[in-house]
């Protein structure tokens, strides 16, 4: 069957004219920014948590264990709402933002980091468990300190073995950023909601946004899967 667009060029305009007047790309750009900053932050915080969970200091171990088990069991929506209604409105934490939009963005990133780091920590901890004990023993035997052993020997090998699981966390994070709509951050899901309210083609609107997320996450997953295989430590 020939494409209807070929015979009726105006068909494309008619089918997609509901997009007119909306900044879909801008909304997805906001999603990308939320994802990128949250990913970076949760990678750092998650790594620190993982370091604490395997540390010889009981207080650090206890803190990280309690943190992970509390945070990963709270719904993300509750965490994000808490950053806005709790941190900002009640405790007056504005994160140095002057206007509401910037404040919402920063609070959302903070919430995503707090939440995602728990999952990064657990992925990394399972990676640490794949590193043979002898690696750490050999490191200690040449006089490396605990933190040097962790930084130079154990974590680099652990990271390589959990690139796959971390890719899952990143994909989940990308999709989770839609929760930021709950506190008024103008990312993709926020725009989708208002478009569904205003346009007749609800199914198409949904399809456009679903497609947008697949475009973001699919290459990420494929790339990190390839990287994971390439970086695997041979034993």
């Amino acid at each position: 069957m020939p494409s209807p667009y070929a015979t009726h060029p105006e068909a494309r305009e008619i089918v997609f004219d509901f997009l007119e007047g909306y900044d879909v790309l801008g909304a997805f750009w906001m999603t990308v920014k939320l994802t990128a900053l949250s990913a970076l932050g949760s990678l750092i915080w998650g790594t620190l948590l993982a370091g604490m969970r395997v540390s010889p200091v009981p207080l650090m171990r206890g803190f990280a264990t309690v943190y992970v088990n509390i945070v990963r069991n709270i719904p993300l929506t509750v965490i994000i709402l808490f950053t806005s209604l709790g941190l900002a409105d009640i405790f007056g934490m504005t994160l140095g933002a002057s206007d509401f939009k910037v404040q919402g963005f920063r609070l959302a990133v903070l919430g995503f980091i707090a939440y995602t780091a728990a999952f990064v920590c657990e992925a990394l901890r399972s990676g640490i468990n794949t590193v043979p004990l002898g690696q750490a023993e050999a490191a200690r035997a040449i006089g490396l300190s605990f933190s040097q052993t962790l930084r130079l020997i154990v974590l680099p090998q652990a990271f390589r073995s959990v690139i796959g699981p971390l890719a899952n966390v990143l994909i989940a994070l990308t999709k989770n950023t839609t929760v930021a709509a709950a506190i008024g951050v103008a990312e993709a899901a926020y725009l989708m909601k208002s478009m569904i309210e205003n346009e007749a083609q609800t199914l198409l609107v949904g399809a456009v946004f679903a497609f947008g997320f697949v475009v973001l996450t699919l290459p990420t997953g494929l790339f990190l899967g390839w990287l994971g295989k390439r970086m695997a430590v041979k034993r």
């Binding site: 010889p56 043979p132 002898g134 690696q135 023993e137 050999a138 490191a139 200690r140 035997a141 040449i142 006089g143 490396l144 300190s145 040097q148 130079l152 020997i153 680099p156 090998q157 390589r160 430590v233 041979k234 034993r235």
Partner: protein
């Protein structure tokens, strides 16, 4: 048995380097080290042999505190073994350790393996560290493999790299925890030869091994352990030809005549 003959020289004992006094250790209900007293002089090569489960590996690992002890004292070069932290790390840098399973850092090249401790612990600059690493790798005969990863090397080569890595720290004493037990038979000699050379150069060595040939030819003293105790200590000639204890006689009869 692997026979590597070497001209043995009597090393003049110039003071005590490693001293263990009434050391005890338990693994749960198992009393793995029972009142161990052992003194190793500077430049001495001591081979620890005994049936498996006799505590000889544990003994070796307590000396750089990879295993903690329940009671007793261990001193190295006059200093008691520190509990934890920086002091302990410093001491470990002075005590070289070679493991049964090599334990080379899997994500680093052979050269990086030998350079790492020099740079991060001894604070040597990169150039000097590399120079020393290459010299040591040449000395153990794997200089041409410097840029490969451990997994690309044979077991014998990996173990020689592990020896070079330990030597790079300039240790006062070297501990060998069954260094040839995980090797294919044809690779055992290349590792033993490196160890023989070290012994000839006057390195203080504590070697846990089943290689009786090495014990005969390179050791100044043989320590025989069974059931967590030191049962017999003697010069190798005397131990192998005329063991005093029944336990040692029994052990030797099982491994030497088959």
């Amino acid at each position: 048995m692997t026979e590597v003959s070497v001209a043995k020289q009597d090393v003049a004992a110039t003071g005590e380097l490693v001293v263990l006094k009434s050391v005890n250790k338990h693994f749960g209900a198992l009393h793995v080290l029972q009142d161990i007293d052992l003194t190793i002089a500077r430049g001495e090569v001591v081979v620890v042999i005994g049936p498996s489960g006799s505590g000889k590996s544990t003994l070796c690992r307590t000396i750089n505190r990879l295993e903690t002890i329940d009671s007793g004292t261990i001193t190295i070069d006059g200093k008691p073994l520190p509990q934890e932290g920086k002091e302990l790390a410093r001491l470990r840098a002075d005590v070289g350790m070679v493991f049964q399973s090599f334990n080379l850092f899997a994500h680093k090249t052979v050269l990086e393996n030998v350079m790492l401790g020099q740079i991060k612990v001894r604070k040597a600059d990169k150039k000097q560290a590399e120079e020393k690493a290459r010299t040591l790798l040449d000395r153990v005969g794997v200089g041409t493999q410097a840029d490969k990863y451990p997994a690309q090397l044979s077991g014998g080569q990996q173990q020689r790299v592990a020896i070079a890595r330990a030597l790079a720290m300039g240790p006062k004493v070297m501990l060998f925890d069954e260094p040839t037990s995980a090797l294919d038979p044809e690779m055992i000699n290349e590792v033993l030869e490196v160890m023989q050379q070290l012994a000839r150069d006057g390195m203080t060595m504590i070697v846990v091994t089943h290689e009786m040939g090495f014990a005969r030819s390179a050791a100044n003293r043989v320590v025989f352990m069974a059931d967590g105790r030191i049962v017999e200590e003697a010069a190798p000639d005397q131990f192998f030809s005329n063991p005093r204890s029944d336990r040692a006689k029994d052990f030797l009869s099982k491994i030497l005549h088959h």
